[in-house]
């Protein structure tokens, strides 16, 4: 038998199981509606869980990117100081981070996909639950218990199928989220234990320490040179003093006046 026929039977079997429990068929409507509301609640929570997980991965990626940028800067500084060995070390560590970042980015895309699917599933279920509520009241008001049976069966198994579908989507999203949380936990642990952190950041970092040692001597030299040369190097230094900036502001002000 074909896959689609078999899958349909699985869903129908589940829907029928729910119907078998009923005594007064009209009670099934209320029972089913309660189930639907619970399901909607669960889906909303599911969407929120996936979103939380996604944000966490985003934060981790940002953190790793910052460290990576820092390593680039360190490599640049090392090159300026003719320390190719240090630059090489920094870039090697950076490439390790880059593969971590790429890996997390792939996971992030997966989570975003699940979040989107689950949000759509929530919207579909919401639409169906709303029309079920209307239908339920109509059936209760218009039909006798005997007459209502067929319509109740239709409505309940129809929505049961939707709930089964949403249930699968939730399970899938949950699996992906758990998988992600385990991985994210590993990255957090790495960062916390210092295995990654010490490579790239903090005062104990040997690249930083060596660069600091180099730059402190060169900073002294630069400052000495600045003192000897007096005013000229200070002006090129980015600090926009009050003296130099005030005429600029005047120009802006006159331009604005002209525009008005």
């Amino acid at each position: 038998m074909s896959v689609m026929k078999r899958l349909s039977l699985v869903f129908k079997a589940k829907a029928n199981k729910a119907l078998d429990k009923a005594e007064d068929p009209r009670e099934v409507l209320d029972y089913s509606y309660q189930k639907q509301l619970q399901m909607l609640q669960q889906v909303r929570r599911g969407v929120a869980d996936v979103a939380t997980s996604r944000k966490r991965v985003e934060l981790q990626i940002n953190g790793l990117k910052q460290q990576s940028d820092k390593l680039t800067q360190q490599a640049q500084k090392a090159i300026e100081m003719n320390r190719e060995d240090l630059a090489r070390e920094a870039l090697t560590r950076k490439s390790g981070l880059t593969s971590q970042i790429n890996d997390l980015s792939t996971q992030l895309a997966t989570l975003q996909g699940e979040e989107e699917k689950l949000t759509l599933a929530q919207q579909r279920l919401q639409a169906k639950v709303e029309s079920f509520r209307t239908k339920k009241e109509t059936i209760k008001a218009t039909y006798t218990a005997a007459e209502a049976q067929t319509r109740i069966n239709e409505a309940v198994s129809g929505i049961g199928e939707e709930m089964g579908d949403v249930g699968l989507a939730m399970q899938r999203a949950e699996d992906k989220t758990l998988e992600m949380q385990a991985r994210a936990g590993a990255v957090d642990e790495l960062l916390a234990s210092g295995a990654l952190d010490d490579l790239t950041a903090g005062p104990t970092d040997d690249i930083t320490r060596q660069l600091d040692a180099l730059s402190s001597t060169s900073d002294v030299e630069a400052e000495l040179a600045a003192l000897k040369g007096l005013s000229s190097p200070q002006q090129t230094q980015a600090l926009p003093g009050a003296d130099t900036s005030s005429p600029v502001i005047d120009v802006d002000a006159t331009e604005k006046k002209a525009e008005q």
Binding site: S2, L7, S8, A121, A127, E130, G158, I159, R172
Partner: protein, 92 residues
């Protein structure tokens, strides 16, 4: 006929559309007997594309059971057999 793609929603199909789908479904069925994921993936994707292009979206607020239910896009052989039950076969 109403066909559901899991995780995506329901589609309405006429008889001509269903006839075409049956051919595509046969390919999925054949792929299910094998173990080649790429063959299965391609066959399923073709079947789902067939449903989307030959059918029209069933109103989202309508509560109707589907005549046929299909695994969602990207489903693996393992996932499908899990959905079908441990034995992978439903009597009937």
């Amino acid at each position: 006929m109403i066909v559901r793609i899991l995780g995506e929603g329901q589609y309405d199909l006429d008889e001509a559309g269903m006839a075409k789908l049956n051919e595509l479904d046969a390919a999925v069925e054949a792929a299910c007997q094998g173990t080649d994921e790429t063959v299965f993936e391609a066959a399923l994707a073709a079947l789902l594309d067939g449903v989307r292009s030959l059918g029209t979206a069933h109103p989202v607020d309508a509560i109707d059971s589907s005549d046929l239910i299909l695994p969602g896009p990207g489903s693996t052989l393992a996932e499908v057999s899990e959905m079908l039950g441990d034995e992978g076969l439903i009597p009937g």
